[in-house]
């Protein structure tokens, strides 16, 4: 299948353009998304991408020009304005951030809709032009679109590399950033502007409705695999590019397959896999760790209890009824006794009696000692 797809790309000029566009978009959105997610601005991406719609419509209405650069500039201005509005509302009133984001998202989008319905009734407009900005249509990417995207993306990534240290500090410790006398607001606005730029890059391919997933998902997936910013940004770019290219090709090959949604599905699957399987942070490893710890604590408590019981006898290996330990739960008890017998730490007698073996006694003493020193340390 891969060979087939590869052959298709190699022979099809449109697919080459689409793949290239998706690659550029994935890399840029992935890299900037990492910062958006770490700064807890995930939903700002959602608001910005919806807020760009009136910009696209107005840019067309005013200039009557459908070149990608004009529309992207319009989108950028609207998205940027939306961000400023969210900041203004949250800073100067008691309306909280979630409500401010919701208002900007829905009101800007609604206004965009008004503009677009007006544009569509103009005799000069063809309907197909602005419609693709909703759910995206990678197949409509042209060479000039990709050229525009390449320039914009290069500027964004260059600025990101140039101010890497500042952005890193801004993301993790903005108090320290301010205390160094660096201009917080300028860098805050610059980083937000870069995120806006990454969003408008994807408007044509992914669409305004789902562009937020393109920002959030690769970064959320990458975050599971690493604790280092640099690695996270590169991984996020890689995953973003992978899903974006795969989605763009899928939608170009399969008829009636909208680009934005299929990219989002690929991204979501990547996130699900990362959430469950990423080493250290993955949920599966968490479950295994909890299972092991529980088993360890259970058998340790049997050994320690037997040690306490044996101290009331002159013979430390005197058998006791297993039933005295039944507060652990009968199933748990039976399972752990079998395990401990197999390990040679306890010995089982007929009549459900158990006792420590010499090896078990030594182990129980070590465990009790460790527990004691640990609790001393904590106190």
């Amino acid at each position: 299948m891969f060979e087939h797809v590869f052959h298709l790309i190699a022979s099809n000029y449109t697919l080459q353009i689409v793949t290239l566009g998706a690659l550029i978009l994935g890399i840029t959105a992935g890299a900037l998304g990492a910062f958006a997610v770490l700064r807890e601005q995930s939903l700002l991406g959602d608001a910005i991408s919806h807020a760009t719609l009136p910009g696209v419509g107005l840019a067309f209405l005013i200039t009557q020009d459908k070149s990608p650069l004009t529309l992207l500039i319009g989108a950028g201005i609207a998205g940027w304005l939306g961000t400023i509005c969210v900041k203004l509302i949250t800073q100067s009133t008691r309306v909280t951030k979630d409500a401010a984001l919701g208002i900007i998202l829905s009101v800007f989008f609604g206004f965009g809709l008004v503009i677009i319905t007006i544009v569509q009734k103009l005799p000069t407009a063809t309907k197909a032009g602005l419609d693709k900005f909703l759910f995206g249509n990678a197949a409509t990417l042209l060479k000039e679109d990709v050229v525009t995207m390449t320039y914009l993306s290069s500027i964004v990534l260059l600025l990101l590399i140039l101010f890497w240290k500042e952005f890193k500090l801004l993301t993790f410790d903005n108090d320290f950033f301010k205390s160094l006398g660096l201009p917080f607001h300028i860098f805050d606005i610059l980083l937000t502007t870069l995120i806006v730029s990454a969003i408008i890059l994807g408007l044509q391919t992914v669409g305004v409705v789902l562009m937020s997933a393109m920002i959030v998902a690769p970064a959320a997936a990458a975050r599971q695999w690493t604790d280092r910013l640099g690695v996270m940004v590169i991984l996020s770019s890689f995953l973003g590019a992978l899903c974006c290219v795969a989605g763009a090709i899928t939608s170009s090959i399969i008829p009636n397959m909208p680009t934005g949604p299929i990219i989002t599905v690929y991204l979501s699957l990547t996130v699900i896999i990362s959430l469950f399987l990423a080493p250290h942070r993955g949920l599966v490893w968490d479950w295994i760790r909890i299972f092991h710890q529980r088993a360890m604590i259970e058998s340790a408590s049997i050994l320690q209890n037997l040690l306490i019981l044996s101290e009331s006898h002159t013979d430390p290996f005197h058998p006791h009824e297993a039933a005295v330990l039944k507060t652990l739960g009968t199933d748990t008890l039976r399972r752990n006794i079998t395990k401990l017998v197999r390990a040679g730490l306890i010995k089982q007698y007929p009549g459900n009696l158990i006792s420590l073996t010499p090896l078990g006694l030594k182990k129980a003493k070590v465990l009790t000692h460790n527990l004691h020193t640990e609790s001393q340390r904590l106190i």
Partner: protein, 369 residues
């Protein structure tokens, strides 16, 4: 009834219905759950449509409502794993469900009345065509009946559980301690939001649902400190936005839902600027007022100190104040004239002298710290 009147009534009813649970969404800081729910319900509708093959089946509504609640549950489970932050979790779950819905729709259901554009924008203009006809009697649009049921449901829930909702919203810890199980109430509220979104979105689309859920309550939040007043105001603002939005759409010949969302924004913006206590202007004015108040305090206290210490008379001269307080000249003149106006000081030539009233005020300022 004429179609346009029916549209206006339906839109007002939708706005009113959304505003009720919206107030609690805004106060509980989970406004964006409405965004998530209103997108995700598409999947429920599409899946149910494949099962029933009938667009008017009530199972569609039930399926959609369940999907809405499911979205909230999955999002909250994801937050509890602590692998991602709250906002990221919201931003991950609903696009996934929405995308599956859109893909299913495009791939397997193209050609039917349900399409993605309709879900985003709704087409309230078509609502009057879908009549509820009972025994050959035309009882008005179906949408109107559906929204009335949802409205009564919301209203009943909020009236019956008013006290519980109030407590769980403003003091969840106390609510839990008193045994009100805020979680149960939370999910009940989320179910209401889902039902409302499902009922509303066919008429106005998922994005306007968000606008109607959030913008009118947020606007009312800037105008009042009382929950009951906020509920009534939100409803009223929603209705104003709906009616003015309809006429805006009428004059511009544009999408009705979009115009209503725009009007929601316009009303919010006006209130944001002019609200008496929490508005932007009021805040700016309050800040300036504080600044002058503080300056007057400083001036009177300074004069009091010089009096008590029998300090050099030059300490009381107008021109000295500029240097001493590090104020610029116009500001000093402004402060002095305000003090004169309030009867805190009197001016003898270049010298400023405290009045008895001013002396008392200065002493109070010192005591206040």
């Amino acid at each position: 009834m004429s179609p346009s009147l029916e549209i206006i009534i339906l839109a007002s009813l939708v706005a009113l219905t959304c505003a009720l649970p919206g107030v609690f969404l805004v106060l509980r800081r989970i406004s964006l759950m409405s965004d998530a729910i209103s997108h995700a319900i598409l999947l429920g509708i599409v899946v149910m449509f494949f099962i029933t093959k009938d667009l008017s089946s009530p199972l569609l509504l039930i399926g959609a409502t369940i999907t809405g609640v499911l979205t909230v549950t999955v999002t909250e489970m994801l937050i509890r794993t602590q692998k991602v932050k709250k906002d990221t979790a919201i931003g991950l779950v609903f696009p996934f469900l929405f995308s599956i819905g859109v893909i299913l729709l495009n791939k397997y259901a193209s050609g039917i009345h349900l399409d993605a554009d309709c879900i985003l924008f709704g087409e309230i203009a078509f609502a009057p065509f879908d009549r509820f006809i009972f025994q050959n009697v035309d009882l008005g649009p179906i949408g109107l009946w559906l929204m009335s049921v949802v409205f009564l449901l919301n209203l009943t829930f909020i009236i019956v559980f008013y006290k519980e909702l109030k407590l769980a919203t403003f003091d969840p810890a106390l609510a839990a301690a008193l045994g009100f199980t805020p979680i149960l109430l939370h999910y009940a509220l989320m179910s209401l939001v889902s039902i409302t979104a499902v009922g509303a979105f066919e008429n106005v689309g998922s994005i306007l649902v968000v606008a109607l859920f959030i913008a009118p309550p947020a606007t009312a939040y800037l105008l009042t400190n009382r929950l009951s007043v906020m509920l009534i105001l939100s409803g009223a603002i929603g209705i104003i936005a709906a009616i003015s939005g309809y006429w805006l759409a009428h004059f511009l010949d544009a999408n009705i839902a979009g115009s209503m969302a725009t009007m929601c924004g316009v009303i919010f913006f006006i209130v944001f600027i002019f609200a008496p206590e929490h508005g932007w202007l009021a805040r700016q004015f309050f800040r300036r007022f504080k600044q002058w108040d503080f300056a007057k305090d400083i001036l009177t206290v300074h004069l009091l100190q010089t009096e008590l210490n029998h300090a050099d008379q030059t300490e009381q001269i107008v021109s000295h104040m500029t240097d001493h307080m590090l104020w610029d000249h116009p500001f000093t003149i402004d402060v002095i004239s305000r003090c004169l106006q309030d009867g805190l000081i009197v001016q003898e030539g270049e010298k400023l002298i405290l009045t008895n009233y001013g002396r008392e005020k200065a002493k109070i300022s010192i005591l206040k710290g």
